[in-house]
Symmetry: C2
Subunit: 257 residues, 2 copies
DNA sequence: AAGTGGTCTAGACCACTAT
DNA sequence: TAGTGGTCTAGACCACTTT
Protein backbone atom coordinates (compact mmCIF):
# COMPACT_ATOMS: atom_id res chain seq x y z
CA UNK A 1 0.00 0.00 0.00
CA UNK A 2 3.00 2.28 -0.35
CA UNK A 3 2.18 5.28 -2.49
CA UNK A 4 5.14 6.53 -4.47
CA UNK A 5 5.93 10.17 -3.87
CA UNK A 6 7.60 12.50 -6.33
CA UNK A 7 11.37 12.12 -5.84
CA UNK A 8 10.76 9.36 -3.32
CA UNK A 9 14.29 7.99 -3.20
CA UNK A 10 14.50 6.14 0.10
CA UNK A 11 18.28 6.30 0.27
CA UNK A 12 18.76 9.69 -1.26
CA UNK A 13 20.95 10.67 1.69
CA UNK A 14 23.60 8.34 0.26
CA UNK A 15 22.92 9.49 -3.24
CA UNK A 16 25.17 11.81 -5.18
CA UNK A 17 22.24 13.62 -6.74
CA UNK A 18 20.87 16.50 -4.71
CA UNK A 19 17.38 16.00 -3.35
CA UNK A 20 15.09 18.11 -5.45
CA UNK A 21 12.62 18.72 -2.66
CA UNK A 22 13.32 18.16 1.00
CA UNK A 23 11.35 15.29 2.54
CA UNK A 24 9.43 17.49 4.96
CA UNK A 25 7.94 19.69 2.30
CA UNK A 26 7.24 16.71 0.03
CA UNK A 27 5.52 15.24 3.03
CA UNK A 28 3.50 18.37 3.66
CA UNK A 29 2.39 18.44 0.05
CA UNK A 30 1.44 14.80 0.24
CA UNK A 31 -0.41 15.33 3.49
CA UNK A 32 -2.27 18.31 2.10
CA UNK A 33 -3.25 16.19 -0.87
CA UNK A 34 -4.48 13.55 1.49
CA UNK A 35 -6.51 16.11 3.45
CA UNK A 36 -8.10 17.44 0.30
CA UNK A 37 -9.13 14.00 -0.89
CA UNK A 38 -9.99 11.84 2.04
CA UNK A 39 -10.33 13.99 5.09
CA UNK A 40 -13.93 15.09 4.65
CA UNK A 41 -14.70 11.75 6.29
CA UNK A 42 -17.28 12.61 8.95
CA UNK A 43 -14.95 12.72 11.94
CA UNK A 44 -12.11 14.46 10.13
CA UNK A 45 -9.70 11.97 11.65
CA UNK A 46 -6.38 11.35 9.93
CA UNK A 47 -4.89 7.86 9.64
CA UNK A 48 -2.62 6.75 12.45
CA UNK A 49 0.92 8.06 12.48
CA UNK A 50 2.33 4.63 11.78
CA UNK A 51 0.07 4.20 8.79
CA UNK A 52 1.00 7.58 7.39
CA UNK A 53 4.68 7.02 8.03
CA UNK A 54 4.55 3.78 6.08
CA UNK A 55 2.38 5.21 3.34
CA UNK A 56 4.83 8.07 2.78
CA UNK A 57 7.87 5.93 3.55
CA UNK A 58 9.39 8.16 6.18
CA UNK A 59 10.20 8.18 9.87
CA UNK A 60 7.85 8.86 12.69
CA UNK A 61 9.85 11.89 13.81
CA UNK A 62 9.95 13.38 10.34
CA UNK A 63 6.27 12.72 9.88
CA UNK A 64 5.45 14.38 13.18
CA UNK A 65 7.54 17.37 12.20
CA UNK A 66 5.41 17.82 9.12
CA UNK A 67 2.20 17.29 11.08
CA UNK A 68 3.23 19.84 13.67
CA UNK A 69 3.88 22.34 10.90
CA UNK A 70 0.36 21.87 9.64
CA UNK A 71 -0.83 22.19 13.23
CA UNK A 72 1.01 25.51 13.55
CA UNK A 73 -0.66 26.67 10.35
CA UNK A 74 -4.00 25.80 11.89
CA UNK A 75 -4.93 23.21 9.27
CA UNK A 76 -5.02 20.22 11.57
CA UNK A 77 -5.09 19.71 15.34
CA UNK A 78 -4.67 16.83 17.70
CA UNK A 79 -6.49 15.51 20.69
CA UNK A 80 -4.24 14.11 23.33
CA UNK A 81 -3.43 10.47 22.62
CA UNK A 82 -6.42 10.26 20.30
CA UNK A 83 -4.89 11.36 17.05
CA UNK A 84 -4.91 14.04 14.41
CA UNK A 85 -7.95 15.79 12.96
CA UNK A 86 -8.74 18.30 10.25
CA UNK A 87 -9.40 21.76 11.70
CA UNK A 88 -12.93 23.06 11.16
CA UNK A 89 -13.27 26.63 9.83
CA UNK A 90 -12.27 29.30 12.33
CA UNK A 91 -14.96 30.99 14.38
CA UNK A 92 -15.06 34.74 13.71
CA UNK A 93 -14.84 36.48 17.04
CA UNK A 94 -15.68 40.19 16.86
CA UNK A 95 -14.21 41.61 20.04
CA UNK A 96 -16.30 44.76 20.14
CA UNK A 97 -19.58 43.14 19.14
CA UNK A 98 -19.67 41.69 22.65
CA UNK A 99 -21.92 38.86 21.65
CA UNK A 100 -22.25 36.11 24.23
CA UNK A 101 -20.53 32.88 23.23
CA UNK A 102 -23.79 31.06 22.61
CA UNK A 103 -25.16 33.72 20.25
CA UNK A 104 -21.84 34.23 18.51
CA UNK A 105 -21.47 30.54 17.73
CA UNK A 106 -25.10 30.02 16.81
CA UNK A 107 -25.05 33.01 14.46
CA UNK A 108 -22.37 31.25 12.49
CA UNK A 109 -24.42 28.10 12.12
CA UNK A 110 -22.35 26.17 14.64
CA UNK A 111 -23.41 24.41 17.81
CA UNK A 112 -22.23 25.89 21.15
CA UNK A 113 -21.90 23.96 24.41
CA UNK A 114 -20.69 24.99 27.85
CA UNK A 115 -19.44 23.10 30.87
CA UNK A 116 -18.83 24.67 34.27
CA UNK A 117 -15.65 23.29 35.81
CA UNK A 118 -15.59 25.39 38.93
CA UNK A 119 -17.63 28.15 40.58
CA UNK A 120 -16.48 29.40 43.96
CA UNK A 121 -15.85 32.50 45.98
CA UNK A 122 -12.25 33.20 46.92
CA UNK A 123 -9.90 36.05 47.84
CA UNK A 124 -8.45 38.02 44.92
CA UNK A 125 -4.90 37.13 43.95
CA UNK A 126 -2.57 40.06 43.35
CA UNK A 127 -2.86 39.95 39.56
CA UNK A 128 -6.64 39.76 39.66
CA UNK A 129 -6.91 42.51 42.26
CA UNK A 130 -4.70 44.79 40.17
CA UNK A 131 -6.82 44.33 37.08
CA UNK A 132 -10.10 44.81 38.91
CA UNK A 133 -8.77 47.76 40.88
CA UNK A 134 -9.67 46.18 44.22
CA UNK A 135 -7.64 45.24 47.27
CA UNK A 136 -5.66 42.02 47.35
CA UNK A 137 -7.69 39.41 49.14
CA UNK A 138 -11.02 41.12 48.53
CA UNK A 139 -13.71 38.56 47.73
CA UNK A 140 -14.22 37.58 44.10
CA UNK A 141 -16.22 34.89 42.37
CA UNK A 142 -14.05 32.53 40.38
CA UNK A 143 -15.77 30.66 37.58
CA UNK A 144 -14.03 28.26 35.23
CA UNK A 145 -15.75 27.02 32.12
CA UNK A 146 -14.91 24.95 29.07
CA UNK A 147 -16.75 25.71 25.87
CA UNK A 148 -17.24 23.60 22.77
CA UNK A 149 -18.10 24.25 19.17
CA UNK A 150 -19.77 21.38 17.33
CA UNK A 151 -18.63 19.09 20.11
CA UNK A 152 -14.99 20.14 19.97
CA UNK A 153 -13.65 21.81 23.12
CA UNK A 154 -11.92 25.01 22.00
CA UNK A 155 -12.07 27.49 24.86
CA UNK A 156 -10.95 27.41 28.48
CA UNK A 157 -12.09 30.53 30.41
CA UNK A 158 -11.53 31.74 33.92
CA UNK A 159 -13.84 34.54 35.03
CA UNK A 160 -13.22 36.71 38.09
CA UNK A 161 -16.18 38.82 39.24
CA UNK A 162 -16.23 41.43 42.00
CA UNK A 163 -18.22 39.67 44.67
CA UNK A 164 -19.63 42.94 46.00
CA UNK A 165 -21.23 43.69 42.63
CA UNK A 166 -22.98 40.39 42.10
CA UNK A 167 -24.31 38.89 45.36
CA UNK A 168 -25.56 35.36 44.88
CA UNK A 169 -24.67 35.11 41.22
CA UNK A 170 -23.30 31.59 41.67
CA UNK A 171 -26.85 30.40 42.35
CA UNK A 172 -27.83 31.16 38.79
CA UNK A 173 -27.58 28.88 35.80
CA UNK A 174 -24.05 29.46 34.54
CA UNK A 175 -24.32 26.90 31.76
CA UNK A 176 -27.19 28.37 29.81
CA UNK A 177 -27.11 32.08 30.66
CA UNK A 178 -24.44 34.51 29.60
CA UNK A 179 -22.81 36.43 32.42
CA UNK A 180 -23.36 39.82 30.79
CA UNK A 181 -27.03 38.98 30.39
CA UNK A 182 -27.22 38.19 34.12
CA UNK A 183 -25.42 41.44 34.94
CA UNK A 184 -28.05 43.38 33.09
CA UNK A 185 -31.20 41.51 34.02
CA UNK A 186 -30.50 40.80 37.70
CA UNK A 187 -28.04 43.47 38.79
CA UNK A 188 -28.85 46.44 36.58
CA UNK A 189 -25.25 46.64 35.42
CA UNK A 190 -24.44 47.47 31.82
CA UNK A 191 -21.00 47.20 30.26
CA UNK A 192 -19.90 50.55 28.92
CA UNK A 193 -16.27 49.85 28.17
CA UNK A 194 -14.08 46.80 27.51
CA UNK A 195 -10.36 46.43 27.31
CA UNK A 196 -8.54 43.48 25.82
CA UNK A 197 -5.07 42.06 25.87
CA UNK A 198 -4.25 39.50 23.18
CA UNK A 199 -1.21 37.37 22.98
CA UNK A 200 -0.19 34.05 21.55
CA UNK A 201 0.99 31.47 24.07
CA UNK A 202 0.59 27.83 24.99
CA UNK A 203 -1.94 25.78 26.91
CA UNK A 204 -1.12 25.22 30.55
CA UNK A 205 -1.85 21.78 31.92
CA UNK A 206 -5.34 22.50 33.33
CA UNK A 207 -6.48 24.14 30.11
CA UNK A 208 -4.97 21.35 28.07
CA UNK A 209 -6.80 18.75 30.07
CA UNK A 210 -10.12 20.55 29.69
CA UNK A 211 -9.59 20.87 25.94
CA UNK A 212 -8.37 17.29 25.46
CA UNK A 213 -5.22 18.88 24.06
CA UNK A 214 -1.52 18.47 24.62
CA UNK A 215 -0.12 20.62 27.38
CA UNK A 216 2.08 23.19 25.71
CA UNK A 217 0.03 23.21 22.53
CA UNK A 218 -0.38 26.50 20.66
CA UNK A 219 -2.99 28.84 22.10
CA UNK A 220 -4.39 32.32 21.72
CA UNK A 221 -4.90 34.19 24.96
CA UNK A 222 -7.65 36.81 25.13
CA UNK A 223 -7.99 38.65 28.42
CA UNK A 224 -10.87 41.01 28.88
CA UNK A 225 -11.83 43.55 31.52
CA UNK A 226 -15.40 44.84 31.57
CA UNK A 227 -16.26 48.25 33.01
CA UNK A 228 -19.72 49.39 34.08
CA UNK A 229 -21.42 52.72 33.38
CA UNK A 230 -19.42 54.29 36.22
CA UNK A 231 -16.08 53.24 34.78
CA UNK A 232 -15.58 50.64 37.49
CA UNK A 233 -13.96 47.31 36.53
CA UNK A 234 -16.54 44.67 37.32
CA UNK A 235 -15.03 41.49 35.98
CA UNK A 236 -11.93 40.06 34.42
CA UNK A 237 -11.88 37.12 31.98
CA UNK A 238 -8.89 35.07 30.99
CA UNK A 239 -9.62 33.07 27.84
CA UNK A 240 -7.40 30.41 26.31
CA UNK A 241 -8.44 29.31 22.84
CA UNK A 242 -7.09 26.53 20.69
CA UNK A 243 -5.19 28.75 18.28
CA UNK A 244 -6.73 27.31 15.13
CA UNK A 245 -10.29 27.77 16.39
CA UNK A 246 -10.68 31.51 16.04
CA UNK A 247 -10.07 34.55 13.94
CA UNK A 248 -10.27 37.78 15.91
CA UNK A 249 -11.87 40.86 14.48
CA UNK A 250 -11.96 44.53 15.49
CA UNK A 251 -13.62 47.41 13.73
CA UNK A 252 -13.80 50.93 15.13
CA UNK A 253 -12.79 54.54 14.77
CA UNK A 254 -9.16 55.08 15.75
CA UNK A 255 -8.71 57.16 18.88
CA UNK A 256 -6.41 59.77 17.41
CA UNK A 257 -9.21 61.34 15.38
CA UNK B 1 31.43 20.09 32.81
CA UNK B 2 28.28 17.96 33.24
CA UNK B 3 25.92 19.51 35.73
CA UNK B 4 23.92 16.94 37.67
CA UNK B 5 20.20 17.41 37.35
CA UNK B 6 17.65 16.38 39.95
CA UNK B 7 16.70 12.75 39.20
CA UNK B 8 19.30 12.62 36.47
CA UNK B 9 19.40 8.89 35.96
CA UNK B 10 20.88 8.42 32.51
CA UNK B 11 19.45 4.94 32.06
CA UNK B 12 16.17 5.46 33.82
CA UNK B 13 14.39 3.96 30.83
CA UNK B 14 15.78 0.58 31.85
CA UNK B 15 15.17 1.25 35.50
CA UNK B 16 12.36 -0.33 37.51
CA UNK B 17 11.75 2.88 39.44
CA UNK B 18 9.34 5.30 37.79
CA UNK B 19 10.87 8.55 36.66
CA UNK B 20 9.81 11.18 39.12
CA UNK B 21 9.85 13.98 36.56
CA UNK B 22 9.86 13.48 32.83
CA UNK B 23 13.09 14.58 31.14
CA UNK B 24 11.49 17.32 29.07
CA UNK B 25 10.07 19.17 32.03
CA UNK B 26 13.27 18.67 34.05
CA UNK B 27 15.00 20.11 31.05
CA UNK B 28 12.67 23.05 30.84
CA UNK B 29 13.19 23.80 34.51
CA UNK B 30 16.93 23.57 34.06
CA UNK B 31 16.82 25.79 31.00
CA UNK B 32 14.69 28.35 32.79
CA UNK B 33 17.20 28.34 35.61
CA UNK B 34 19.95 28.88 33.09
CA UNK B 35 18.06 31.78 31.51
CA UNK B 36 17.52 33.41 34.88
CA UNK B 37 21.18 33.18 35.82
CA UNK B 38 23.32 33.54 32.78
CA UNK B 39 21.19 34.81 29.95
CA UNK B 40 21.34 38.53 30.72
CA UNK B 41 24.63 38.34 28.85
CA UNK B 42 24.52 41.30 26.47
CA UNK B 43 23.46 39.41 23.34
CA UNK B 44 21.00 37.13 25.10
CA UNK B 45 22.46 34.21 23.21
CA UNK B 46 22.10 30.73 24.64
CA UNK B 47 24.92 28.19 24.51
CA UNK B 48 25.04 25.95 21.46
CA UNK B 49 22.66 23.02 21.31
CA UNK B 50 25.50 20.54 21.61
CA UNK B 51 26.84 22.26 24.69
CA UNK B 52 23.42 22.32 26.33
CA UNK B 53 22.73 18.73 25.41
CA UNK B 54 25.95 17.64 27.06
CA UNK B 55 25.48 19.88 30.05
CA UNK B 56 22.05 18.45 30.73
CA UNK B 57 23.00 14.97 29.55
CA UNK B 58 20.25 14.49 27.04
CA UNK B 59 19.74 14.06 23.30
CA UNK B 60 19.65 16.75 20.73
CA UNK B 61 16.08 15.92 19.76
CA UNK B 62 14.86 15.99 23.33
CA UNK B 63 16.70 19.21 23.97
CA UNK B 64 15.19 20.81 20.90
CA UNK B 65 11.74 19.69 21.99
CA UNK B 66 12.21 21.58 25.25
CA UNK B 67 13.62 24.62 23.47
CA UNK B 68 10.72 24.69 21.06
CA UNK B 69 8.32 24.61 23.99
CA UNK B 70 10.00 27.68 25.43
CA UNK B 71 9.84 29.23 21.98
CA UNK B 72 6.09 28.57 21.84
CA UNK B 73 5.74 30.24 25.24
CA UNK B 74 7.54 33.25 23.85
CA UNK B 75 10.46 33.08 26.27
CA UNK B 76 13.16 32.40 23.71
CA UNK B 77 13.42 32.65 19.95
CA UNK B 78 15.84 31.56 17.28
CA UNK B 79 17.49 33.13 14.32
CA UNK B 80 17.93 30.80 11.40
CA UNK B 81 21.15 28.83 11.73
CA UNK B 82 22.45 31.36 14.23
CA UNK B 83 21.13 29.97 17.46
CA UNK B 84 18.77 30.61 20.33
CA UNK B 85 18.21 33.89 22.13
CA UNK B 86 16.28 35.19 25.10
CA UNK B 87 13.13 37.05 24.02
CA UNK B 88 13.08 40.75 24.89
CA UNK B 89 9.90 42.09 26.54
CA UNK B 90 6.89 42.21 24.23
CA UNK B 91 6.04 45.46 22.51
CA UNK B 92 2.58 46.68 23.55
CA UNK B 93 0.63 47.32 20.38
CA UNK B 94 -2.56 49.29 20.93
CA UNK B 95 -4.60 48.63 17.80
CA UNK B 96 -6.90 51.63 18.12
CA UNK B 97 -4.23 54.12 19.17
CA UNK B 98 -3.07 54.04 15.54
CA UNK B 99 0.40 55.18 16.44
CA UNK B 100 2.94 54.84 13.65
CA UNK B 101 5.50 52.10 14.27
CA UNK B 102 8.29 54.54 14.94
CA UNK B 103 6.39 56.47 17.59
CA UNK B 104 4.95 53.36 19.17
CA UNK B 105 8.34 51.76 19.58
CA UNK B 106 10.09 54.94 20.68
CA UNK B 107 7.40 55.65 23.27
CA UNK B 108 8.31 52.36 24.90
CA UNK B 109 11.98 53.28 25.12
CA UNK B 110 12.96 50.93 22.32
CA UNK B 111 14.76 51.63 19.08
CA UNK B 112 12.77 51.29 15.82
CA UNK B 113 14.29 50.66 12.38
CA UNK B 114 12.71 50.16 8.98
CA UNK B 115 13.88 48.63 5.74
CA UNK B 116 12.01 48.87 2.45
CA UNK B 117 12.18 45.57 0.60
CA UNK B 118 9.96 46.45 -2.32
CA UNK B 119 7.92 49.40 -3.58
CA UNK B 120 6.16 49.00 -6.90
CA UNK B 121 2.89 49.56 -8.68
CA UNK B 122 1.01 46.47 -9.77
CA UNK B 123 -2.50 45.23 -10.58
CA UNK B 124 -4.65 44.22 -7.62
CA UNK B 125 -4.88 40.50 -6.95
CA UNK B 126 -8.38 39.19 -6.24
CA UNK B 127 -7.92 39.09 -2.46
CA UNK B 128 -6.53 42.62 -2.35
CA UNK B 129 -9.22 43.97 -4.67
CA UNK B 130 -11.94 42.43 -2.52
CA UNK B 131 -10.62 44.01 0.64
CA UNK B 132 -10.15 47.42 -0.93
CA UNK B 133 -13.48 47.27 -2.72
CA UNK B 134 -11.91 47.91 -6.11
CA UNK B 135 -11.87 45.98 -9.36
CA UNK B 136 -9.49 43.09 -9.86
CA UNK B 137 -6.46 44.33 -11.72
CA UNK B 138 -6.97 47.97 -10.76
CA UNK B 139 -3.63 49.61 -10.02
CA UNK B 140 -2.31 49.46 -6.46
CA UNK B 141 1.00 50.36 -4.87
CA UNK B 142 2.63 47.40 -3.24
CA UNK B 143 5.14 48.17 -0.50
CA UNK B 144 6.98 45.56 1.51
CA UNK B 145 8.92 46.53 4.59
CA UNK B 146 10.79 44.80 7.39
CA UNK B 147 10.88 46.49 10.77
CA UNK B 148 13.23 46.02 13.67
CA UNK B 149 13.12 46.72 17.38
CA UNK B 150 16.49 47.21 19.06
CA UNK B 151 18.11 45.64 16.02
CA UNK B 152 15.93 42.53 16.02
CA UNK B 153 13.72 42.08 12.95
CA UNK B 154 10.21 41.37 14.25
CA UNK B 155 7.74 42.54 11.63
CA UNK B 156 7.21 41.80 7.95
CA UNK B 157 4.52 44.03 6.39
CA UNK B 158 2.98 44.18 2.96
CA UNK B 159 1.01 47.36 2.24
CA UNK B 160 -1.43 47.72 -0.64
CA UNK B 161 -2.54 51.29 -1.41
CA UNK B 162 -5.15 52.38 -3.90
CA UNK B 163 -3.02 53.96 -6.59
CA UNK B 164 -5.74 56.45 -7.52
CA UNK B 165 -5.70 57.89 -4.01
CA UNK B 166 -1.98 58.46 -3.67
CA UNK B 167 -0.37 59.51 -6.96
CA UNK B 168 3.40 59.55 -6.73
CA UNK B 169 3.60 58.31 -3.16
CA UNK B 170 6.44 55.93 -4.01
CA UNK B 171 8.66 58.98 -4.58
CA UNK B 172 8.51 59.81 -0.90
CA UNK B 173 10.77 58.59 1.85
CA UNK B 174 9.16 55.34 2.92
CA UNK B 175 11.84 54.55 5.47
CA UNK B 176 11.49 57.56 7.72
CA UNK B 177 7.91 58.73 7.21
CA UNK B 178 4.82 56.88 8.32
CA UNK B 179 2.30 56.20 5.59
CA UNK B 180 -0.61 57.64 7.54
CA UNK B 181 1.38 60.81 8.08
CA UNK B 182 1.95 61.05 4.32
CA UNK B 183 -1.74 60.45 3.68
CA UNK B 184 -2.63 63.41 5.87
CA UNK B 185 0.10 65.85 4.95
CA UNK B 186 0.33 65.29 1.20
CA UNK B 187 -3.05 63.91 0.20
CA UNK B 188 -5.46 65.41 2.71
CA UNK B 189 -6.75 61.98 3.66
CA UNK B 190 -7.57 61.17 7.25
CA UNK B 191 -8.33 57.72 8.54
CA UNK B 192 -11.76 57.61 10.09
CA UNK B 193 -12.23 53.89 10.57
CA UNK B 194 -10.01 50.82 10.80
CA UNK B 195 -10.85 47.18 10.75
CA UNK B 196 -8.56 44.38 11.86
CA UNK B 197 -8.34 40.68 11.47
CA UNK B 198 -6.03 38.84 13.85
CA UNK B 199 -4.99 35.26 13.69
CA UNK B 200 -2.11 33.13 14.75
CA UNK B 201 -0.20 31.42 11.94
CA UNK B 202 3.30 30.74 10.71
CA UNK B 203 5.94 32.65 8.78
CA UNK B 204 5.95 32.02 5.05
CA UNK B 205 9.35 31.75 3.44
CA UNK B 206 9.70 35.38 2.34
CA UNK B 207 8.75 36.70 5.75
CA UNK B 208 11.02 34.19 7.43
CA UNK B 209 13.94 35.28 5.32
CA UNK B 210 13.35 38.94 6.08
CA UNK B 211 13.11 38.22 9.80
CA UNK B 212 16.12 35.88 9.88
CA UNK B 213 13.71 33.29 11.19
CA UNK B 214 12.84 29.71 10.38
CA UNK B 215 10.19 29.32 7.73
CA UNK B 216 7.15 27.90 9.48
CA UNK B 217 8.01 29.57 12.78
CA UNK B 218 5.16 30.84 14.97
CA UNK B 219 3.70 34.17 13.90
CA UNK B 220 0.89 36.56 14.67
CA UNK B 221 -0.93 37.93 11.66
CA UNK B 222 -2.51 41.37 11.89
CA UNK B 223 -4.35 42.55 8.82
CA UNK B 224 -5.66 46.06 8.76
CA UNK B 225 -7.93 48.00 6.41
CA UNK B 226 -7.99 51.79 6.70
CA UNK B 227 -11.03 53.81 5.63
CA UNK B 228 -11.05 57.53 4.87
CA UNK B 229 -13.59 60.12 5.94
CA UNK B 230 -15.92 58.98 3.14
CA UNK B 231 -15.90 55.38 4.29
CA UNK B 232 -13.78 54.32 1.33
CA UNK B 233 -11.10 51.66 1.89
CA UNK B 234 -7.81 53.32 1.03
CA UNK B 235 -5.22 50.76 2.01
CA UNK B 236 -4.79 47.25 3.24
CA UNK B 237 -1.88 46.06 5.38
CA UNK B 238 -0.83 42.51 6.01
CA UNK B 239 1.48 42.28 9.00
CA UNK B 240 3.36 39.19 10.15
CA UNK B 241 4.97 39.52 13.57
CA UNK B 242 7.28 37.16 15.37
CA UNK B 243 4.74 35.88 17.83
CA UNK B 244 6.81 36.59 20.93
CA UNK B 245 7.44 40.20 19.95
CA UNK B 246 4.05 41.73 20.66
CA UNK B 247 1.12 41.92 22.97
CA UNK B 248 -1.99 43.34 21.32
CA UNK B 249 -4.29 45.71 23.12
CA UNK B 250 -7.79 47.04 22.44
CA UNK B 251 -9.85 49.39 24.54
CA UNK B 252 -13.22 50.79 23.48
CA UNK B 253 -16.94 50.97 24.07
CA UNK B 254 -18.68 47.79 22.91
CA UNK B 255 -20.99 48.28 19.96
CA UNK B 256 -24.12 46.80 21.52
CA UNK B 257 -24.57 49.76 23.88
C1' DA C 1 -5.41 -7.38 23.81
C1' DA C 2 -4.02 -4.55 20.21
C1' DG C 3 -2.91 -0.32 18.66
C1' DT C 4 -2.05 4.58 19.40
C1' DG C 5 0.27 8.81 20.46
C1' DG C 6 4.00 10.70 23.60
C1' DT C 7 8.53 10.43 24.61
C1' DC C 8 13.33 9.18 24.39
C1' DT C 9 17.96 7.21 22.62
C1' DA C 10 22.02 7.33 19.57
C1' DG C 11 23.60 8.19 16.01
C1' DA C 12 24.32 10.75 10.95
C1' DC C 13 24.96 14.24 6.91
C1' DC C 14 24.47 18.84 5.04
C1' DA C 15 24.42 23.83 4.33
C1' DC C 16 25.51 27.57 6.43
C1' DT C 17 27.71 30.86 10.06
C1' DA C 18 31.31 32.49 12.55
C1' DT C 19 36.15 32.94 13.18
C1' DT D 1 38.01 25.72 8.65
C1' DA D 2 35.63 24.40 12.69
C1' DG D 3 31.42 24.44 14.63
C1' DT D 4 26.47 25.41 14.28
C1' DG D 5 21.66 24.62 13.50
C1' DG D 6 18.46 21.99 10.28
C1' DT D 7 17.17 17.68 8.97
C1' DC D 8 16.82 12.75 8.77
C1' DT D 9 17.28 7.60 10.05
C1' DA D 10 16.06 3.53 12.82
C1' DG D 11 14.97 1.99 16.36
C1' DA D 12 12.63 1.65 21.57
C1' DC D 13 9.37 1.80 25.83
C1' DC D 14 5.31 3.53 28.17
C1' DA D 15 0.67 5.09 29.29
C1' DC D 16 -3.35 5.50 27.42
C1' DT D 17 -7.38 4.73 24.12
C1' DT D 18 -9.94 1.74 21.45
C1' DT D 19 -11.68 -2.52 20.10
Amino acid sequence: MTTTLPHATPFSANNALPRLTPPTSRLQQALLGMLAEEAPSATGRLPSERQMMERFSTTRITLREALMQLEAEGRIYRESRRGWFVSPPRLRYDLLASLPFKEMVASQQRCPETEVLKATQCPAQPKVAARLGILEGAPVFHIIRARRIDGRPVLYVEHYLRADCFPGILEHDLVTCSLTELYRSHYGIRISRVSFELCSTVLHSRAAEALRAASGGPAQRVTRINYDQNGRAIDYDDELWRHDAIELTVSAAPQGT
